[in-house]
């Protein structure tokens, strides 16, 4: 996929408190759809899915006092484009102490695009255990799916052109909370 140039025009879609509200809404939706989020584990996909998963767990705890285990699931070694690119460094895979067997796993990622990352995550998950069900929560759905995959919880749908790219920054990693649409705009 062609990346927009560095000097391409960009537009801020979500910033600061907007992004917090979106995370709050997803947390409420998870509580609603899972009847109080019992037997649930949140697994963030590195890099930015991990802090998002921790934020969701913190919000769910603030709303209902439920402690949800949080972990991370690195998908690098399961990607289908490994050999098309230079070698990638690995991220962390850390499962909660109770594992994932028999639990409802909610995968958390920043942007849902082609669906290939989620496909890789499902493959990685099957090597780690057998969850009772798997759901997907994303901050942004930008469309252009290449696989039959959909999210259960979507923070914001952003219609995009293929020439554009969506950049999510989070305070924990990048120093600021922001979702930006880069390129394509005149």
């Amino acid at each position: 996929m062609a990346q927009p140039r560095a000097d391409a025009p960009s537009k801020i879609i979500l910033a600061g408190s907007d992004l917090h509200r979106v995370v709050d809404r997803i947390a409420h939706q998870i509580l609603e759809k899972t009847s109080g989020a019992t037997g649930t584990v949140l697994l963030g996909i590195p890099t930015r899915g991990v802090p998002l998963a921790h934020r969701l767990a913190a919000r769910i705890h603030a709303f209902e006092g439920v402690e949800i285990p949080v972990g991370s699931l690195d998908i690098t070694l399961y990607r289908d484009d490994l050999r098309l690119n230079a070698t990638r460094a690995l991220g962390k895979t850390e499962l909660p102490a109770g594992g994932i067997d028999g639990l409802r796993v909610i995968l958390v990622d920043d942007v849902l695009f082609s669906g290939r990352s989620v496909r890789a995550a499902l493959d990685a998950l099957k090597d780690l255990g057998r969850p009772s069900s798997v759901q997907l929560a994303v901050l942004v759905d930008r469309g252009h799916r290449q696989l039959p995959i959909r999210a259960d919880y979507v923070g914001k749908n952003i219609p995009t052109a293929l020439s554009e790219s969506v950049k999510v920054t989070l305070t924990e990693i990048d120093g600021a909370d922001e979702v930006k649409l880069i390129g394509g705009l005149k």
Binding site: L77, L82, T87, T93
Partner: protein, 306 residues
């Protein structure tokens, strides 16, 4: 990322650290139910072993299989090599079979360098003569880092037959790159001072083990390689053991946190006493387990990308 791993000198500090970090992620795999990753599916790794080996060969084989690569094991015994086939012709055969990586152990120093000119795939040195054994140095560095938390500023004593030891050479190179302070200890006949100086500006030499021990974080005992010794380098095995062997009395001179390493195979009672080899300070079994993780990291980083 580099294409071949022929020498520990191929690695700068950033690449070596990337390998160690990747190995740490690979190590998590051994605790999992399904000990397999799909990263190298469809890739072929040839283990080309001209010299006997137990742990290195099975370690590379396990590493490649855990990454889902296809593994072809080739040992010189029982192959066309015993009919006189040259390394080059063997290399061209492997090339024709489409090997993505060749892991080579050879009694001739420099064989991996020659091989890398003849094949398109990556070449990994699994020990060449008395020259180098880079993956052993990587797994040693990994073991030190996981036991002691750091490598920078670590004081490492490498003790024994440095002259014939490819493990010592690779360790001097890699540990110096990563900021550890290496002291080579042994009888003057077994320490090639000029080679040590050429390998590292920071490595030191000592002929007195007892004075080095109290200030060491790591003691690495080397095997006395009687099969490579045509001359007599020391008066008797007993005298060697008395002056340079690590026994219980000597081990007590080490600081509380210090660890004892050995690349294996050990001559128990010669360079290392059985009580020391089996003590909690000893990382010898751990080194073998870490070897698989480190070799997975090397194979993944050499073969995983474009």
């Amino acid at each position: 990322m580099i294409k071949h791993l022929r020498s520990a000198a191929d690695l700068d500090a950033a690449t070596a650290t990337l390998i160690l970090d990747t190995a740490a992620e690979m190590a998590a795999l051994s605790g999992r139910e399904v000990k397999k990753l799909p990263a190298l599916r469809g890739r072929t790794v040839v283990n080309l072993f001209y010299e006997d080996s137990t742990r290195t060969r099975i370690s590379f084989e396990a590493a490649a299989k855990r990454l889902s690569a296809d593994v072809i094991n080739f040992s010189a015994k029982g192959s066309s090599v015993s009919k006189g086939e040259s390394l080059k012709d063997t290399a061209l055969t492997l090339q024709a079979m489409g090997a993505d990586a060749v892991v080579i152990r050879h009694s001739a120093s420099g064989a991996p360098h020659r091989l890398s000119n003849w094949v398109d795939g990556s070449v990994v040195n699994a020990g060449d003569g008395t020259h180098e054994h880079p993956t052993q140095a990587l797994l040693d560095a990994y073991t030190m880092r996981s036991r002691l938390g750091r490598l920078d500023g670590l004081k490492v004593a490498v003790v024994g037959d440095v002259l014939h030891s490819r493990v010592a050479r690779s360790n001097v190179l890699l540990l110096s790159t990563l900021g550890a302070e290496v002291t080579l200890v042994g009888p003057p006949t077994l320490i090639p001072v000029d080679i040590v100086a050429a390998l590292s500006k920071t490595a030191r030499v000592s002929y007195d083990l007892d004075s080095v021990l109290p200030d060491s974080d790591v003691v690495m005992m080397l095997r006395v390689q009687t099969e490579r010794m045509q001359d007599s380098y020391f008066p008797s095995a007993r005298e060697y053991s008395r002056r340079y062997g690590l026994d219980v009395t000597r081990m007590r001179k080490l600081p509380e946190h210090a660890i004892v390493m050995h690349p294996g195979p050990m001559n128990r009672g010669m360079e290392i006493a059985p009580e020391v080899a089996d003590s909690p300070r000893s990382t010898i079994v751990e080194q073998v387990a870490n070897g698989v993780s480190v070799r997975m990291a090397v194979l993944y980083l050499l073969l995983g990308g474009k």
